[in-house]
């Protein structure tokens, strides 16, 4: 699903954000990406999401070299990727239902089909009764659940979540993590960037650790080493 080979990322006038990162994420895996602030977690997600390009190295997404994907094709790649942000990135002037419908409108689905899927998605995140509300009137947990529903709306093969529980209390954190876990159980590959150690301890999943842009530990490798 995702393959990185010796990937480096540098910002002009800044130090390296990622250094020699080699990593493979298989289809239907659930991976935590962790490390302290500034470790390069968000940068790595931006590379996977085609928001930025690697300075060197190769990144393969769905078997395709991202460097060779033209600018015009990037929107179509993104339709296979759902993204959940720490700050939700919901449109304040659109209702909850309209926010969730956005990825479906982009894909030109029929209005009737969009309504059906939005209703189903909102039911799955427990917000069917809030469909006509506007995001600012919702709690942080509710807003993040809307963001998860939007990320899952187009039934993406890959779900990226950047600190999805960063602004939530423990109860709301559990709610959001359960949604991500259930998406993974349905076959979606999930990559969650977080620096919340309690999440890693509670959900025993493969954990990739970044520090100062370098991959310093990969739970998958550790498990393999322990098993071998």
């Amino acid at each position: 699903m995702i393959q990185l080979f010796h990937v480096n990322k540098e910002y002009p006038g800044d130090g390296p954000a990622l250094q020699d990162v080699t990593l493979t994420v298989e289809k239907a895996e659930f991976v935590f990406l962790t490390g302290p602030s500034g470790a390069g977690k968000s940068t790595l997600l931006k590379l996977i999401f085609c928001e930025e390009a690697a300075t060197s190295g190769q990144l393969l997404l769905f078997g395709k070299n991202v460097a060779k994907i033209g600018a015009r094709a990037i929107p179509y790649v993104r339709r296979n990727i759902g993204v959940v942000f720490q700050d939700f990135k919901l449109l304040a002037q659109r209702t909850v239902a309209e926010n969730v419908a956005l990825p479906l409108e982009v894909q030109a689905l029929a209005d009737k089909e969009i309504r059906r899927r939005v209703k189903m998605l909102l039911r799955s995140v427990g917000l069917e009764h809030r469909a006509e509300k506007f995001p600012p009137s919702l709690s942080g947990g509710e807003q993040q659940r809307v963001a998860v529903a939007r990320a899952l709306a187009a039934d993406p093969a890959l779900l990226l979540a950047d600190e999805p529980t960063g602004n939530l209390d423990p109860d709301r954190t559990v709610e959001v993590m359960e949604l991500l876990a259930s998406a993974n159980a349905r076959g979606t590959t999930v990559v969650v960037a977080t620096h919340d150690r309690s999440l890693l301890e509670r959900y025993k999943r493969r954990t990739v650790v970044l520090e100062r842009g370098r991959l310093v530990s990969d739970g998958d490798s550790i498990r393999r080493a322990a098993g071998g």
Binding site: F49, R72, P75, Y76, V77, R78, R79, V83, K89, L90, L91, Q93, L102, P103, E105, V106, Q107, A108, R150, A154
Partner: protein, 294 residues
């Protein structure tokens, strides 16, 4: 994925309803620009019509040398000015006409004999241009027995100069207005695009193509341009309806002034289409610049 006009127009209308202030500013900007342009064009059209009406009264007077044969000169003048109304005016008739014109002050002519004024031939030349009048005068001056030709060239030259200057000013003003309008509309719509940069960013995050993001903004620009220009055309018609009757009452030559002279259908159509085009162009410039940055 192809362009979906109904969906895109619906999104554009929803966006305008959500941000009516920005939509209003865009519409008003186009309105002001198109109204100013249309007002000037209508004034120029009206002025040209009035000048043509004045020119319709142009008359050339061919004064004959003493002893010249009036009927022969009139025949020569008629041959030199084909299609024009030619009338021989003997000196005695000219004197009577002058006396009638002077009215009570005609006494000043007491003792003035018919020989004081030359025989003349009058040529009516309605609608003639200054250049045409000059050329005709030269031809008439060359005829045998002709002493002088007068065609009121001083006022006609002034009128011609005024119209020529107004035309030159119109070209400059139209160019300046077109540039100013495009810049104003572009900047106003850029505010609209900037105010919704979050929406654009999120659209792109969920896989929207540039075309999908830009289309509603283009429709918004087109609608604002169309609405502003149509309102401007309506306002211009209202100004015509209010001013022209008063002008007709005040100035005799304005009696012939019609809507066809000031705001002909092709001018109104050009203003409305021009407003729509400016709205579309301004919107396209703004949204392309914003998309490049995201």
């Amino acid at each position: 994925m192809g362009f979906r006009p109904v969906y895109t127009t619906r999104r554009a209308l929803e966006a305008m309803a959500r941000g009516p202030y920005v939509a209003l500013v865009g519409t008003v900007t186009v309105f002001v620009a198109i109204f100013a342009t249309g007002l000037f064009a209508a004034a120029l059209g009206g002025a040209e019509r009035l000048v043509a009406a004045w020119a319709g009264e142009t008359q050339l007077s061919v004064y004959l040398a003493p002893g010249a044969d009036l009927p022969a000169a009139a025949a020569a003048v008629a041959a030199a000015a084909p299609g024009r109304e030619v009338r021989a005016v003997p000196a005695a008739e000219a004197l009577r006409a002058l006396a009638a014109e002077l009215g009570e002050q005609a006494r000043v002519l007491d003792g003035v004999g018919p020989g004081a004024l030359p025989d003349a031939v009058e040529v009516r030349a309605p609608g003639i241009s200054l250049a045409g009048a000059r050329a005709l005068a030269e031809r008439l001056r060359a005829l045998p027995g002709v002493q002088d030709v007068d065609f009121g060239n001083v006022w006609l030259e002034r009128l011609e100069r005024f119209v020529a200057r107004a035309r030159a000013a119109a070209v400059l003003l139209f160019a300046a207005l077109a540039i100013a309008t495009a810049v104003l509309v572009s900047n106003t719509l850029r505010l609209a695009v900037f105010a919704r940069r979050d929406e654009i960013e999120i659209m792109k995050l969920v896989g929207a193509t540039d075309g999908f993001v830009a289309a509603p903004f283009l429709i918004e620009g087109l609608l604002q341009g169309l609405l502003g220009a149509t309102l401007a055309a309506g306002a211009l018609l209202a100004v015509h309806a209010a001013l022209v009757p008063r002008l007709r009452a005040a100035v005799k030559v304005a009696e012939a002034l019609t809507l066809q002279d000031t705001l002909p259908p092709h001018l109104l159509a050009a203003l409305i289409l021009g407003g729509a085009a400016v709205g579309l162009l301004g919107s396209a410039l703004s949204v392309v610049r914003t998309l490049r940055r995201l």
